[in-house]
Amino acid sequence: MSATDTAKLPAPAAAPDTAPRSPWGEVLHSLSRSGTFLTGLAIVVFWIVCALFGQYFVPYDPLASDIINALTPPSADHWFGTDQLGRDVFSRVIVGSRDILTVAPLATILATIAGTALGLLIGYFRGIVDDIVSRVLEAFMAIPVVIIALLAIVALGTSKITVIVVIGLSFAPIIARTVRSAVLAERELDYVAAAKLRHEGALHTMFVEILPNVIPPILVETTVRLGYAIFAVATLSFMGFGIQPPSPDWGLSISSNYGMIGGGFWWTVLFDALAIASLVIGVNLVADGVHGAFND
């Protein structure tokens, strides 16, 4: 009996498969079945929880130094050892996700908003506007982000806002390009012609008619960009142009400790490096999953 019971069980679950689903329901459904997406999501959620609540459950204050116990190797007291100021590496790695997880998403949101607006404009108007703006964007994309950031930060000084603006604006052209090509396809469709016949204004047509239809590529590009934003923030922090001390940020910790790894103090950098690696790979798995869900 039990065998037939279990055999029957999938039936009600399978029934909704045949029922028509809204496009968004379809996407959510395929996301919930994508191993790539779920693995990535688990990693990202883990770090978000650490960023939000890490300070309440870490064993030590991540900023408290204890010079007598400086540079002790991993032990039962200090799971990941201590750094040159005697700060607990485990606590710092857990709390270290906080700054990068504020700066990188804000930069990505800025890039998405600016890039989408720009992409809609040049895709909708085409012609000379498109020609000029596209060339300028290409010129920008040819310069590595690190170089742009270096120049901007030298000129404007280091702050989280500068980092957000620099990364946001240097990613905006890439999003604009994606949006532009999506808009070019959409603007030939009947519903856009209908809006024009109704004498809707250009702004209305762009943002009310076309925008909802180009959300999928924007969403995919945004998740991909988030991965690169984390890459860029970590790199800038490592170079000393990003998040500033005494934040327990990962890139920053590596830059202040890697000078000593020749002495064998591997625990001061390894765990931070692995933390960045896991977060970047997690976000990229999510991006891969989202990409797959929209293109099936």
Binding site: A139, A142, I143, P144, V145, V146, I147, L150, L151, A152, I153, V154, A155, L156, G227, F231, A234, T235, F238, M239, G240, G251, I254, Y258, I261, G262, G264, W266, V269, L270, A273, L274, I276, A277, V280, I281, N284, D288
Partner: protein
């Protein structure tokens, strides 16, 4: 643009060299001797004119002409980039080809997923992990790219292996992915089927028909990665304390040595333009369907 970023934004050059407590007359005198009190357009004109004549200006910090510093650094960086390229181009293409020939089998999955994971990681993260493995634990390779003076070619190569590996890893993913998708497309094409059906041995089909077509897009990718490579060099050279163009720009940016910074970045721009030109040329040589300047 580089000039504007470097020269205009930082404000008063004399003030930033002499510090906030310097006498205003001293600041004015220094500004005059550096020529930065002239109108902007005049400064820009003379800068471009001198640069074209090989005079890149005088470093604010070293009080010496910039050109020898930049040329030395460029030479060092080229060595590093060359080692990375010589390793990655054949291995990346080979990886992509093997993956495509084993399409959807475990070997393909390993190469594709592994390539993707290492590509998305920041260079300093893979760099740190590689330093720990090969430099600190195994002690096979030196952890700083500073060879003894007058070292021979092989010694230099030995010191350059570790710094080139993070660049290798990032580029490997891109190149392998392009080579793989190019191969899969070519294997699926009509001309491959024709070649197989007319009885050519499999080896000949792969070498003469598939590879030639599959590798064209890969060349473009390799060229566009030069831009990335330059951004990567800034990070890698800092991490390995290597006197290349990347660390030159980094040091100049930190020391607010604007002539050095501008010369470094302009040099990089020229290298990038030349690399793109060479790629276009190679592409047209390898692809008989596109001849530069051919009549339609």
């Amino acid at each position: 643009m580089v000039f504007l970023g470097g020269q205009v934004l930082p404000g008063n050059v004399g003030r930033s060299i002499l510090g906030p407590f310097a006498d205003q007359r001293a600041v004015d005198a220094l500004n005059h001797s550096l020529g930065v009190d002239r109108p902007l357009l005049v400064q820009y004109g003379s800068w471009i004119w001198n640069f074209l004549h090989g005079d890149m200006g005088t470093s604010y910090v070293f009080r010496a002409p910039v050109a020898p510093f930049v040329m030395d650094a460029l030479g060092n960086s080229m060595k590093l980039a060359l080692v990375a390229f010589v390793l990655v181009v054949p291995i990346g293409i080979l990886g992509g080809v093997i993956a495509a020939l084993n399409f959807n089998r475990p070997l393909d999955r390993i190469i594709s997923l592994g390539g993707l994971s290492v590509t998305v990681l920041p260079e300093f993260v893979t760099g740190i992990i590689l330093i720990l493995i090969f430099g600190v634990w195994l002690r096979w390779l030196p952890i700083a790219a500073a060879w003894p003076k007058g070292a021979g070619f092989l010694t230099q190569l030995y010191y350059l292996i570790l710094p080139s590996l993070p660049l290798f890893l990032v580029l490997f993913g891109y190149i392998a992915r392009m080579a793989r998708s190019g191969m899969i497309e070519a294997l699926d094409s009509d001309y491959t089927r024709t070649a197989v059906l007319k009885g050519l041995p499999w080896r000949t089909v792969i070498w003469r028909h598939v590879l030639r077509n599959a590798l064209l897009p890969t060349i473009t990718v390799i060229a566009t990665q030069t831009g990335y490579l330059i951004g990567g060099l800034v990070v890698i050279e800092t991490l390995f304390r290597y006197q290349g163009i990347g660390s030159l720009i980094f040091t100049a940016a930190r020391g607010k040595d604007f002539p050095m910074l501008e010369a470094g970045i302009l040099t990089i721009g020229i290298v990038y333009a030349v690399a793109t030109l060479i790629a276009d040329f190679l592409y047209s040589v390898l692809n008989p369907r596109i001849r530069l300047g051919a009549e339609q």
